[in-house]
């Protein structure tokens, strides 16, 4: 067909090429039509999406998601085992077996829940707000579970509580409290380092500010406001105490920086 002597014009007038073009056009139309037909038959509307995939799995497959949940549950048991050993209250073989079985349960419960949700919600039309609302209402409890940590964590924590003896439970809660305190102290250092970029404090000033922040008691802070605790603590330091180790300009800058956090003061006690 593509010989050296043929020009474009000559090719266009060749009846063989006409036939080839017709075949090509018919084949193309048939492919497009069959594509449209299959969409109609199988209901593959491009606007319809798997709601569970979109809002729960967030792009992951069911298998990889399940794997990551099991990994997190396993990590929790390994950590617990270590804490108990360090605190001279090691887990008994029965306790460990029960917890390892619970790890498996996390995976299978998730699989079961996801299958049920998929059956209830299925595909959702993204152009239909009502359809989306209905789907979200069904998925809401599962989404809330995800917000509180890994899916199934709450149930797993209950199993841990039932499995441990009184002494072991106390040991675990002490260890967790210590970790939270460590975290809070580390965050205070980070906050002071950030404030320092603005205040240009000397070594002694930084140390004093850290000390004063850590002295401020906080008895109750909602989970979602934990991040604001160091700022609220700074706001609670009496101005006179700040003036004792910071110069006038620094105090003014610090208070201006902390002003937006005043709105959280009532909620953090």
């Amino acid at each position: 067909m593509w010989n050296n002597n043929s020009t474009g014009k000559a090719m266009a007038h060749d009846p063989q090429n006409f036939r080839a073009a017709r075949v090509f056009l018919w084949a193309g139309s048939a492919i497009i039509l069959s594509g449209l037909m299959s969409n109609a038959v199988w209901g593959q509307d491009p606007n319809r999406h798997d709601a569970v995939q979109m809002w729960i799995l967030r792009g992951q497959t069911k298998e990889t998601f399940q794997e990551s949940l099991v990994a997190q549950a396993e990590q929790t048991v390994n950590d617990l085992k270590q804490v108990m050993e360090d605190g001279s209250h090691p887990l008994t073989p029965e306790q460990e077996l029960r917890l390892r079985l619970a790890v498996k349960g996390v995976g299978s419960r998730f699989k079961q829940d996801i299958s049920q949700l998929s059956a209830k919600v299925g595909l959702v039309n993204l152009n239909d707000i009502n359809e989306q609302r209905k789907a979200l209402a069904v998925l809401q409890p599962a989404m809330q579970k995800m917000q509180q940590g890994w899916y199934g964590k709450e149930t797993f924590e209950k199993i841990i509580e039932k499995t441990l003896e009184v002494d072991q439970r106390e040991l675990l809660s002490t260890r967790r409290r210590e970790r939270t305190e460590q975290l809070n102290k580390a965050v205070v250092l980070r906050v002071v380092a950030n404030i320092d970029t603005r205040l240009g404090m000397t070594k002694a000033q930084r140390e004093k500010l850290v000390e004063l922040i850590n002295q401020q008691p906080v008895h109750r802070a909602p989970e979602n406001l934990q991040s604001f605790v160091p700022f609220v603590k700074i706001l609670r330091i009496p101005k006179k105490e700040l003036e004792a180790f910071l110069d006038e300009k620094q105090v003014e800058t610090l208070l201006a920086l902390m002003a937006p956090y005043q709105q959280w003061e009532r909620s953090i006690r």
Partner: protein, 237 residues
Amino acid sequence: MKNLFNKTSCLLSALLTLAPTGTAVAQAAFFPAPQADQVQDDILKTVRMRERDFLLRVCKLPEDKQKQVDAVGEEVLGALAEAPPVAQRNVIRMRGALHLDNGAGVRSQTEKLRKKLQDKYRELLDEEQKQLYNSELTAREEFNRNSRGECLIVLFNQRVSLKQHQIQPLKDALATWEGAESLQLSFYFQNGSSNYFPPIPAELYTKVLDADQLKVIRSFQQVFAQRDADVEQQFNW
């Protein structure tokens, strides 16, 4: 016809080759950094004032020396302003997706200014003052680096329970991660129940953690905290 076919196939193959970088290119083209040079100027002026105040706080200088400090500051800032504005934006790859780090240019300029100012200030100080100034600068750097390391170690410990021998090597490696500078990150650290994990380069911790711990880390949702000039200004004040 043959030429047309060749051209089309070339175009198609070029498109397919460039597809992975498409997101970043599109972002760069359609979302330019907002008034980057103005924001940058403001930040540099503020940094200059902060460095000046820090020096005067550490070393009590007489009035004539203070005037020299101001003159040196103006000079360094002026020299930096004459250089063309830096609108450099790094493209960061994270789990296959590309993100823009708009603050990279401002950060490098800020660092340059800080170093130049400190060098010039040292020239104005006597030996004793220089020693005091240097030790305060070192303490400031150390405090910053340690606080980054502490925060990240606690985060790792909370998420994957570190063993004693892992703590120091991990702390040293993580202290080099400049992403920890962002105040935004410490907000996320506080949320213990969250699945959030900052986008720390994996090479910093893969050699220290064991296979089980890495499996857990991979299961967390990595959130990219966008750092552009505005965010930089807002969170680093």
